[in-house]
Amino acid sequence: MDTAVLQDSAIRTFYEALGEGRLEGRRCRKCGKITFPPTNCCEHCGSFDVEWTTLSGKGTLLFATHNITPACHPRFEPIAPYVYGHIRLDEGVIVQAIVRGIEATPEALEAVYDKGPIPVKAAVMEMPDLPVLVFEPVG
């Protein structure tokens, strides 16, 4: 069985690239829009004519809150509570992800809210079993 050719998988490719610090998405050759995280077709127009594209990892944190404790998923129990953000990537894609560098307290989150949208950049948090895409404030 293990000699069979490994078929392409968007999920595996995404996580392998993330482990190397890259954000891989797919751009549609038909409508030009980006599907991120990647699937096997364009989420916008349904075309299967897509190609890999690497995203910059730069974006803007629009809103930030925190998660519940204990975390809904056992993987994240050791780091809960954590900040969770609503982010617009420079490529126009909306992403929701863990945000590092901001305390998960009402006071810190209110300060972020009062400040308004802030620039962030992508980073990788290595969990024991999986690389996780996170964002950090810039500057």
Binding site: I11, F14, P37, T39, L62, F63, A64, T65, H66, N67, I68, P70, A71, C72, H73, P74, R75, F76, E77, Y82, Y84, H86, R88, I94, V95, Q96, A97, I98, P106, L109, E110, Y113, L130, V132, L133, V134
Partner: protein, 424 residues
């Protein structure tokens, strides 16, 4: 897409168990899942003046099979409902299940395929099968409930990457709402308190609700004379700032059912309600773009239901919007046009969303007070709308029974489902 029901369809009967915990709630304690589901189905059949012999098809919904361990529920329930040899299907649309089932039944009846369909939803989010026992159950931990529930959410990326329902559904939406309408965090907190107070009041007037305690009584039980001081205390922590624990769903075990049929088959002496239209639209995460209060799939599901029904939103006298997240439920009500945009918190503070207010919503207590048994909950919402339209809602009855009602639910995650009912 024609977006039409070619023939008229009515809800002839509705049933719903009390929502609660199969291990401790008085009306539920000791029941099996089969008996729980059958109790709701029996009430719906008797309400319609029918027996299972009159039914052509049985659609049974159950979302979290990890706790129920009851796939092929239609056949497993057949001997508990008194009828076999029917058409049957096990289906799920998560927390929209029962109303999606009603839509499937309406399509089947309007097409002429079936005359009468029994829809059942059954769910246990508080208890699960104990070991391999046929009847014993045990509690489910908070984390396990959400890990199983989140299996309906993006398993490729979002859940493995730290997705949290409370952040996405509550905290971020709350912040989006405050920013959009210039609401201070303190005013938001006060508005959420008032909405929870209304929902708890409704639950206290609903014998089938999971929680039948007013917020004032709950505060007093914890030694507080000021319920708002209780609201801001350690008993009600932030789960996703600025959203607090009591603005969220409460898990429950429960079942609901409804019988849909052709108007000419309605039995004399029963009180049918017309199933005028439905709209269904889904979207994977993220559920919204830049503006966390603007959910495109909800707009589409409501627009489709309104168009199919031919009912003017201005004529809707009762509304339930899915309220696992109280702030999300208000955003939906504003989008529908039942509440002025940006004014929902004012409506809550002024008591306008109460059963005796001018914009009554979720008079059974909603997902916080009535409780949430995923696949059964939409049926409980429809059950309440039917009681209000019939004038049989008891102490929480809207003074003038509504002639049209809208029920909106979010099937996790996310299936925006809207149905419109009108007096038959």
């Amino acid at each position: 897409m024609a977006n039409k029901l070619k023939e008229r369809v009515v809800i002839a009967g509705v049933g719903c168990t009390r929502f609660g915990d199969l291990l401790e709630t008085p009306e539920l304690r000791g029941l099996s899942l089969q008996e729980l589901a059958a109790n709701a189905a029996r009430e719906a059949l008797e309400d319609a003046g029918l027996t299972s012999a009159d039914v052509d098809a049985v659609f049974v919904g159950n979302a979290m099979v990890h706790s129920s361990q009851l796939p092929a529920t239609y056949s497993q329930l057949s001997k508990w409902l008194g009828g076999q040899f029917k058409a049957g299907v096990h289906f799920e649309a998560q927390c929209s299940t029962t109303n999606v089932g009603a839509a499937m039944a309406a399509m089947a009846i309007a097409s002429g395929a079936y005359d009468t369909v029994l829809v059942v939803g059954v769910e246990t989010t508080r208890t699960k099968v104990k070991g391999m026992s046929p009847w014993e159950r045990e509690s489910i931990s908070h984390q396990t409930t959400w890990m199983w529930t989140d299996m309906a959410v993006n398993q490729a990326y979002q859940v493995p990457q730290g997705y949290d329902i409370f952040s996405t559904y509550n905290g971020l939406v709350a912040l989006g709402y405050c920013r959009k309408y210039g609401v201070s965090i303190e005013d938001f907190d006060r508005g959420m308190f008032e909405l929870c107070r209304t929902r708890c009041l409704h639950g206290s007037l609903t014998p089938k609700a999971n929680s039948q305690e007013t917020l004032e009584a709950k505060a007093a039980r914890h030694g507080f004379t000021d319920p708002y001081a209780f609201w801001k205390s350690q008993h009600n922590p932030f789960v996703a700032w600025p959203s607090r624990l009591m603005s969220l769903v409460t898990t429950a075990d429960g079942a609901s059912a409804m019988v849909l049929t052709r108007p000419d088959l309605v039995r004399q002496g029963t009180k049918p309600v017309e199933f005028k239209g439905f709209g269904i639209s889904y979207r994977d995460l993220p559920w919204y773009d830049e503006d966390p209060t603007d959910w495109e799939f909800d707009r589409r599901s409501v627009a489709a239901a309104v168009e199919m029904s031919g009912v003017d939103v201005a004529d809707i006298g009762y509304l339930h919007t899915h309220d696992c997240s109280h702030i999300s439920s208000l955003c939906t009500a504003e989008m529908i046009g039942y509440i002025e945009p940006g004014k929902a918190l004012d409506y809550a503070r002024e008591g306008r969303l109460r059963f005796d207010g001018d914009r009554p919503m979720s008079t059974h207590g909603g997902r916080h007070a009535f409780g949430h048994a995923w696949a059964a909950s939409a049926g409980s919402d429809t059950y309440e709308a039917v009681q209000q339209m019939r004038g049989t809602a008891g102490a929480r009855q809207i003074a003038k029974p509504p002639v049209a009602a809208m029920i909106h639910t979010h099937g996790y995650a996310m299936i925006g489902t809207t149905i419109v009912l009108a007096a038959a």
